[in-house]
Symmetry: C2
Subunit: 430 residues, 2 copies
């Protein structure tokens, strides 16, 4: 058996602790699978003495994780600190430059700097791996980059953020509205330190940008991911979705075509018959379409100590096995630069929810505006009035172009009878 692979771990939060637990508990099994032992030599975190439920005294301690890059006895650095810049980025650059492989769970880092870091890894003949950055316990990066490598892939979509999926599932299950579920989710500790990452679709956007790169061999382009979160979803939208045969899911969708690359994260109405409609709570799921495999579907826990640490350790085992190919599965100079397709060019149907004062002529004004933009309706629902005399109107359009809907809603929002900004949810017949 070869000599041990020596690793240092930067960050001892949930995931870092999980990595240590797995390596300690499955020592022999991992050595058998990797062909060599995995040995933790050093750890680093912001607070040395915090009780983490594990004994870290057996490992060298570093106050500054950047020291790992300089250590001769470290072959691989694990980064589970987080953040797209700062220490995480410096540690990645310096570790790779010093010829150490680098394994991270940091989606923001890879979405923003993946290309640059992959180039450094390539130039130094070491591995950059980030399975844990996307969809937790689902080995989706490996499945796409290796398992489906014979295919020209055309579409990747999925539920990429467990927290918002939990919130949407709970709204439907409990009949509570957004605000109440948000408070409960906060108390459970499920939200990122900056809740905007979850609630505004940014976390899912990071993951989608990474998936696009891996699936299509295109340069990571997070800047062109359209992102819209779940903050405006009300319980009544979830109820109307049910009535219309849909469920509301926050999806990331990426498609490559002759026209370019479409990358978007937003709430979707998906048919209840679609497998992805039944992925609930903290689970993530990814659908991958390619020319020879047709459609494949992957589901698993999206976050948490076990699933995320499992993905980090799988990457470490891969590196121990000597798999140190390109981070995005093709060399950087072959990664393509594909023009983005703007969300305004989307063709599809829309669910539209209006909140208006109940007055004669409101519906006439609304429908006239839609007609002027060439948007036709297949469904219009109105069910009684609210206590304050206002009324919710729900409409489903026929297939149309997003820019027409946007133009119509802009005019509708200007009507004096409209109380809230109209909400449009894209219908995706996946």
């Amino acid at each position: 058996m070869s000599k041990p692979l020596k690793i240092a771990i930067a960050g001892l939060g949930t995931v870092g602790v999980g990595v240590i637990k797995i390596i300690e508990q499955h020592n022999d099994m991992i050595a058998a699978r990797a062909g060599r032992a995995i040995e933790v030599v050093a750890v680093s975190a912001s607070n040395r003495s915090r009780d983490r439920g594990i004994d870290i005294t057996a490992y060298d301690w570093a106050d500054n994780a950047l020291d790992f890059a300089e250590r001769d006895d470290v072959d691989l650095v694990v980064e589970v600190i987080g953040g797209s810049d700062g220490v995480a980025k410096e540690l990645a650059q310096q570790s790779l430059e010093q010829g150490k492989s680098f394994v991270t769970a940091n989606k923001a880092l890879i979405a923003h700097h993946g290309a640059e870091l992959a180039e450094i890894a390539q130039n130094n003949g070491v591995a950059l791996r980030f399975e844990a950055a996307v969809a937790g316990g689902i080995p989706i990066i490996k499945s796409i980059g290796e398992g489906l490598a014979a295919n020209k892939l055309t579409e990747v979509h999925g539920i990429l953020n467990g927290t918002t999926n939990y919130m949407l599932t709970q709204m439907e299950a409990t009949g509570k509205d957004y605000g109440e579920i948000l408070e409960e989710t906060k108390l459970l500790g499920y939200l990122e330190a900056d809740p905007s990452l979850d609630l505004d679709g940014i976390d899912a956007g990071h993951k989608l940008a990474i998936l696009s790169s891996v699936a299509f061999g295109v340069k990571t382009n997070f800047e062109n991911v359209y992102m819209e979160g779940i903050r405006r979803i009300k319980l009544l939208d979830i109820e109307y979705a049910k009535e219309l045969g849909y469920r509301i899911k926050l999806l990331g969708i990426s498609r490559l075509s002759e026209q370019g690359l479409e990358q978007r994260v937003h709430p979707c109405m998906v048919p209840r018959s679609a497998p992805i409609a039944h992925v609930d709570n903290g689970f993530n799921a990814v659908v991958v379409q390619g020319d020879y495999i047709d459609r494949t579907f992957y589901e698993g826990r999206g976050a948490g100590e076990g699933p995320t640490a499992s993905a980090v350790v799988a990457d470490i085992i891969d590196v121990a096995r000597g798999h140190n190919g390109s981070a995005f599965f093709v060399p950087q100079h072959l990664m393509q630069d594909v023009p983005p397709i703007d969300i305004s060019d989307r063709i599809g149907s829309y669910y539209i929810r209006l909140h208006v004062q109940e007055q004669p002529g409101v519906i006439a004004d609304v429908t006239a505006t839609l007609r002027d933009q060439d948007v036709s309706l297949q469904v219009m629902l109105q069910k009684g009035s609210e206590q304050d005399g206002s009324v919710y109107i729900v409409m489903v359009t026929h297939e149309t172009q997003e820019k027409k809907v946007t133009a119509a809603l802009k005019q509708i929002d200007g009507l004096s009878t409209v109380i809230d900004k109209a909400l449009a949810i894209r219908i995706e017949n996946l």
Copy 2:
């Protein structure tokens, strides 16, 4: 870029032709991903001149595929002939002994001789790969052996045979009985040359034995897989399943515990709420459970030119990338020998369907026999009589031990009023 990986293909049926199509069509993309070109140098099949829709004149022809093992200009041999022995096995042995990597879609070969072949591959420092042998387009071998390598896995179960899944789906969808759907499926060409492989669960058994080995690091033990097919499933069972909240699926289930290894293939009643209940027609699905990932679920097309060839080419790309580790992901001498658990020790509930003459005392006899074996019922259904005066009785037991049900049904089958052998379907609350 390194020199090309030169391959020879034995077998030009659907899959062999698919492999050639992919390599020809995605030449540049594959070279980018593999880091080197993949070059087909020779092909072999039983009939040289058959029209296959592709031009094979560019490749050397061999009347005898075994010649590939001797060729100095072949790095890797692809075997898509089929059969557990004969040419397929000889070609595997000789190719590996001659230092050539070997990629196969042949589940019978690996289920029967995987351990022996893995040892030869190991001794010669080459790769033995068989992603295409299980679940077609789903990269399940790689996902388990690499993606989930950090976990102690405890269970793998799935729909592993697309043909029988198609038949069960069609019975429910069309309301036609088994015999009629069997004829239609034959006409569509979906059945193996020996239909018993599909209908009696043998094909799924081969695949399950392979999955067990990969997931648990246990020696492949196909001999101890319990197999029962779908031949006795009637439309009325499918209809009763629906009424009871279940769907009938032919599952392979493998579990590793302190007591040993349980491997079985048989029709199951699965709750309609389980994701696997909604995997229809030619799709396969696999659920993998482990200590850190919890549960992961994979779905995709189980067979056909595209998905199977995609898996073969993914293996070839892996070998081209230099990934030539152990076939079962741990070295052969570390593969464990685990005692089998007999199906008679299964604990669970059972759906039981009887066909009896409608006479006073029949139900009393049946229920007395069950009581004597300590099998208690949670449901009993009887709906009118058949035209011939016979009647179907459907029962669902409480949780019990399989051997008690077997003993009771043996006695019940001996009753003079019983027309057909009783059918028991295991209920799996997955």
